[in-house]
Structures are given as C-alpha cells and as structure tokens.
C-alpha cells in the first residue's frame, strides 16, 4: 500500500481541516492511488513507474490540500472559532465537572451523613459512602487537569498554534487554583445542607504567591502531555 500522504496530512491539519475529514480523505486517496497504480501496471509499466505516474495523476500535494482546505464546512471548530473552542468550552466543561462534584458532595452529605454539621471530617466513612465521596473529590481536584489534557490533545492532533489554547489553560489553572468549596447548614431554611464554590487567590501577598504557585503547578501538569509530544516530534520527526 502506498502511503505518500504524510505531508498532505500535516498540510490539511495545519489548514484547520477536522481530523475525521482528513482521515476519510486520505483513506479514499489511498484507495484511488492503488487503483491508478494497478491501471498503470496493467498497461505495462513497472511498479516504480506505475506508482510515480499514479501519484502524478492523483494531483500535487498543493492541489489536493487546497481543494479540501477551501471547503470551509470541513474546518474544525478549533479552527473556525478558537476563542470558543479553547477559551469558553474548557471553562464550561470545568463548570459542568464541578457542578457534578458538588452534587455528589451534597447528595452524599444528605444520604450518608444526615444531620452532620459538615461533610468534611464529620467522622469515619466506610464502604460505598467512602467511594462515593472520593469519586466526587477526584472529579473536583482532577477536572482542571483532565480538561487541560483534552485541550492539549486537540492542539496536538490538529497541529494548532498555541495562542488561544495557552490562554484557555491559563484560565483553567487560575480557576483550579482559586476555587474553594463551602458546605454549610442554612439556619434559616430549616437546616438544609448547602454546598457552593467561591474563588479567591488570597488576601495577603503570601496567600497570593501560594495561589499563583498552585496555578503554575496546575498549568505545568496540563501542558505536560503536549510538551512530551513536541519533544517526541523534535527528536523523532517521522513519528506522527
């Protein structure tokens, strides 16, 4: 099977074409190329001649790339609206994940610790209750990192420039570092359990420095897979 499309793949991804459309295009081009090579062989050309004639008939990389890139409908959202894909969507995803985490905390408090003043350190929790609370905690703490990895993966897959993604990751890490969960019993509403989230980097300069350090650690964790991928490409350019 001929596979001369690595350059075309890079060109299409950098041109903003969505990876799924790139995959399909390259698959069909590969099939077409094989048919052309078979046709050329059937008229007496040797394998090498048949393959180079087939490639020429298929079209130049530039011609094939432009034909696809010009069709805006095949562009990925990350290319059409990077501000939404990397600025807004990660924050919305983080909001959704934290909502789920708070719901788990609130429902666990009501189900497993009814009457307790706080769900934090109210006493030993065992079995399913423990798993339930730990699951919520895991979502809360790891959501920024997982979402950041998703952003990094999209950037790597689509060969995107890092401007908007970096801004998105910076917002995510700041949100992750500044978030604080509160759980209180509301006296006025008959002792109903209430959970919420607030954001503060800190009041004193020491707190602010600590908050920024947390944000930096989060940012480094989020960016780590992307940095590894870039290093891998730098040392092994043929690896895709």
């Amino acid at each position: 099977m001929l596979s001369p499309f690595n350059e075309l793949q890079e060109r299409l991804l950098m041109g903003g074409v969505a990876p799924r459309h790139v995959r399909r295009y390259l698959k069909e081009l590969g099939d077409h190329l094989a048919d052309l090579a078979a046709e050329e062989k059937s008229v007496g050309l040797n394998r090498q001649q048949a393959e180079s004639t087939a490639l020429a008939r298929l079209g130049s990389i530039e011609e094939l790339a432009v034909a696809m890139i010009e069709q805006r409908q095949f562009r990925a959202w990350s290319s059409r609206a990077p501000w939404a894909a990397f600025g807004l969507a990660p924050l919305l995803a983080l909001g959704a994940a934290w909502f789920a985490a708070l719901f788990i905390l609130w429902s666990g408090w009501n189900i497993f610790l009814p009457g307790a003043v706080t769900p934090f350190g109210a006493g030993p929790i065992h079995g399913f209750a423990n798993i339930y609370f730990q699951f919520g905690k895991m979502i809360y703490f790891f959501a920024p990192v997982f979402i950041g990895w998703g952003v990094a993966l999209a950037v790597a897959r689509q060969r995107l420039s890092i401007g908007w993604p970096t801004l998105g990751l910076a917002f995510l890490s700041l949100a992750g570092a500044a978030a604080r969960v509160h759980a209180v019993h509301a006296v006025l509403s008959g002792g109903a359990a209430q959970v919420g989230i607030s954001f503060s980097i800190g009041n004193s300069s020491g707190d602010i420095a600590q908050g920024l350090l947390r944000a930096l650690v989060l940012l480094s964790l989020m960016a780590l897979p992307y940095l590894i991928w870039r290093l891998q490409r730098a040392f092994y350019p043929s690896a895709r």
Partner: protein, 108 residues
C-alpha cells in the same frame, strides 16, 4: 468552472452508485480528458455534496477491497436539474455570442 464538477458528478450518479475512481474515469472518458485536474480533488467535491445532502455514501466490500460508493439523493437530483438548466442557458448564451458576429465591424 464553478459548479461544473458538481454537475458532472451528479449526472453520473443519477442512475447508479459509483466510487471515486470510477467517477473520475467516467468523467475522463465522457469528456475526452478535456477537463484535466488532479484526480484526487474529486473527493472534497463528493464530501461537500454528501454534507449538503445531495449524495449518500456507503462502504461496500468488492473483491476484498473496501470502497466508498456514492449515490444521488432526491435533493441531489433537484440540484442536478437546477445546475443543468443554468448550464444549458449559459452554453446557449455563449454560443449565441460566438456565432453572432453580424453586428461586429472588422477593425480597419
């Protein structure tokens, strides 16, 4: 040449389904290879027509090879009718201009 690839493809697919290579060879045969572009550029046109709902595709295995076959939909046939009409009008108009030299004065 705007709309020509779509017109040719929809014309070929109005009666039977075909895959990319087949479509390109049919265009080459029927146009006497007058339209010479890279054969691979047919796929963005096919994908665009499919996205617009003018074509449907299905994967089919033939002689051990998996191919993507395309067929025209009702929307595609309507689009073909529109394209055919405008191209016929355009061709008639251009022929009229090319033949109708009776008003032209030779430059002295």
């Amino acid at each position: 040449m705007n709309g020509v690839p779509e017109l040719l493809i929809l014309t070929l697919l109005q009666h039977r389904e075909m895959y990319g290579y087949e479509i390109v060879q049919a265009i080459r045969d029927r146009t006497g290879a007058v339209i010479a572009v890279g054969e691979g550029v047919v796929y963005p046109v096919l994908h665009g027509l499919e996205r617009d709902g003018a074509l449907v595709s299905r994967r089919k295995s033939v002689s051990g090879r998996s191919r993507i076959y395309y067929a025209a939909t009702l929307a595609g046939l309507r689009r073909l009718a529109g394209l055919s009409q405008s191209w016929t009008q355009l061709a008639v108009a251009i022929q009229g201009v090319m033949k109708g030299g009776q008003y032209a004065q030779p430059i002295q």
